[in-house]
């Protein structure tokens, strides 16, 4: 399994450091001024400049842009002349988060060359010249004994790459473009990556792929801090993947979250149990009526994919709501006055939350981690605190690829056999596969298609903190000590 889905380490270090500094600034006695100072504190006078940047001023300008995303604003739409202190002030006054959760720091994009076909030094200028002969567009000629591509004529078809016996011709890829499953991000005329929000499904793959850390999430951390500071009863809804993120027991994690100022903590696995029961019943009913297949509907990235790119899949997608939906419904019913915050492994849930009045804010695991650093909370030293409602093993396993299909299967009667098909991560290829199933109205591989936008499931989400393997181990331990959902039924 390709498991290295996390953001390159150095850029996530930067992003997290900025978040910690923003939180500390918010909790200090002068939020605005201390926010303004962040780029200067991180790159003081005479400090070293990383060799991929020209000078300290450029470096600070980029840190300023990153802080803008941390404050929850769009980097593209923010004027250069606005001070970070003004933005801090604006962030504190904001009532609702921005509609689209991603923003691109184009100044960091510069180093990345546009996608093209490139002849390397390995070219031997061979006699056979298969490249010249293969190119249908006559774009290649031999100059000074080496092959040369005319960019005006080249159509990026890549035929020459395949035929060169020395593998001397390479396709230069743009990491974000090649990671995006739906072609929603591309470099514009100025060489800056731009997201087409009509196409974007908020899967976060571009954010994970960019080696410069140029794609940022607009954080809602200030909004949440503000509610807690104002004494609002703020409740955390923790998605199952969170239990694999920090080195401690689930019960200690609950205590650590209470220390941040939350009034209570609910497991989203509790809502997952409702999803499982509803979806199993729905699957049974659909099959009885002769349906060929059904897909799951818990992944926000996949749901946006269907809505925007594969409308013909809608009849096959389960009508059951997501674990976040049911959890938020329970929380608001039990605490009508509460502000709800969903703890998410990915950016896609921010979009889902915008459409759900029961979910007020979404924070990702990097933001939670940064918050713990800012307050000096050591999770492993926290006491243990039990959850009021115990979720099932199956619900707690939703974050692992295959976990949702397995949960549904557990509740199906014997005469309704499910044959799960697992789509472990959206790519250009798996999107094509899904389109095919929808168009044909059937899937030859099975009848219950589980779709996870992220490879590995939510544990591979774009804003997770822990590496995949140890996270999986920790979640699996928790699952193994939990009771089966069957016991809730009997």
């Amino acid at each position: 399994m390709a498991m290295n889905t996390s953001t390159p380490k150095e850029t996530s270090h930067l992003k997290r450091e900025i978040l910690v500094r923003l939180i500390k600034a918010y909790l200090s006695d002068n939020f605005e001024e201390n926010t303004r100072l962040i780029p200067y504190a991180m790159r003081p006078k005479n400090s070293d400049v990383p060799n991929y940047r020209c000078c300290i001023f450029k470096e600070r300008a980029i840190l300023r842009d990153r802080a803008i995303a941390g404050l929850g604003f769009s980097i593209e739409d923010t004027d250069d002349s606005v001070l970070l202190s003004e933005l801090a002030n604006k962030a504190e006054k904001r009532e609702v988060p921005d509609e689209h959760p991603l923003t691109v720091l184009t100044t960091a994009c510069k180093g990345c060359v546009p996608s093209r076909i490139y002849v390397t030094d390995l070219c031997q200028g061979c006699v056979a010249r298969p490249c010249v002969n293969t190119c249908k567009f006559g774009a290649i000629s031999i100059q000074n004994g080496k092959s040369v591509i005319d960019p005006e004529k080249c159509k990026n078809c890549g035929m020459c790459v395949q035929v060169c016996p020395y593998q001397a011709i390479q396709k230069i890829i743009v990491p974000c473009e090649s990671a995006c499953p739906v072609g929603a991000i591309a470099k514009d005329e100025n060489g800056h990556a731009k997201i087409d929000f009509d196409k974007c499904i908020s899967c976060g793959k571009c954010a994970s792929a960019c080696p410069f850390g140029a794609v940022h999430e607009k954080s809602q951390i200030i909004d949440v801090l503000k509610n807690i500071k104002a004494g609002k009863k703020t409740i955390a809804m923790v998605a199952p993947a969170m239990f694999g993120q920090l080195p401690c027991k689930p019960q200690q994690l609950k205590e650590a979250i209470l220390k941040l100022g939350f009034a209570d903590v609910y497991e989203v696995a509790q809502g997952a149990d409702v999803t499982t029961k509803t979806e199993a019943a729905e699957f049974e009913e659909r099959l009885m009526k002769g349906a060929e297949f059904m897909t799951t509907s818990c992944c926000a990235g996949y749901n946006e994919l269907v809505d925007k790119h594969i409308p013909e899949m809608k009849p096959f997608r389960s009508d059951t709501k997501t674990p976040m939906y049911y959890t938020a419904e329970i929380v608001k019913r039990e605490n009508p006055d509460a502000v709800t915050v969903f703890f998410s492994p990915c950016v896609a849930k921010k979009r889902e939350a915008l459409q759900n009045p029961n979910v007020d804010y979404v924070l990702n695991y990097e933001e939670i981690g940064a918050w713990m650093i800012a307050l000096g909370v050591q999770v492993a030293e926290c006491d243990e605190s039990e959850f009021k409602t115990q979720a099932s093993a199956e619900g707690r396993n939703y974050c692992v690829t295959g976990g949702v299909a397995k949960a549904v299967q557990t509740l199906l009667p014997e005469e309704i056999p499910a044959h799960p098909v697992i789509i472990d991560g959206l790519t250009k290829q798996t999107v094509r596969d899904l389109k095919k199933y929808a168009k044909n109205g059937m899937c030859e591989l099975g009848n219950l298609i589980e779709v996870m936008a992220c490879t590995g499931g939510c544990l591979g989400g774009n804003s997770t903190v822990n590496a995949f393997k140890p996270a999986l181990k920790q979640v699996t331990n928790y699952v193994n000590e939990s009771k089966s959902i069957k016991e809730q039924i009997d």
């Binding site: 450091e17 650093i373 492993a380 590496a467």
Partner: protein, 85 residues
């Protein structure tokens, strides 16, 4: 035989979030690579992150008494190799 080299990977919350989550592989890798010449373990907060603004230099790893700041797998392996020279 010389004294064993000790490698302590900080798995306290600050270091973990700032990147030692990705250093956990050292705990399997080091014994495979160096056998029993090196002793490696994940340890709770080394107390370095809370001094002033030192969280920004996390994750920390200690190789014997030497502190490695902003540790990466490569940096730690290099420090071990130096000691073994």
């Amino acid at each position: 035989m010389d004294k064993k080299i000790s490698v302590k990977v900080c798995l306290g919350t600050t270091c973990f979030v700032m990147g030692s989550s990705n250093l956990q592989e050292l705990i399997e890798m080091v014994p495979k690579k160096y056998g029993d010449r090196v002793e490696v373990s994940g340890v709770p907060c080394l107390g370095l992150c809370s001094i002033d603004w030192e969280f920004s230099k996390a994750p920390y790893v200690k190789v014997d008494d030497d502190v490695i700041k902003e540790a990466t797998v490569e940096k730690v392996l290099k420090a071990i190799d130096e000691k073994l020279k």
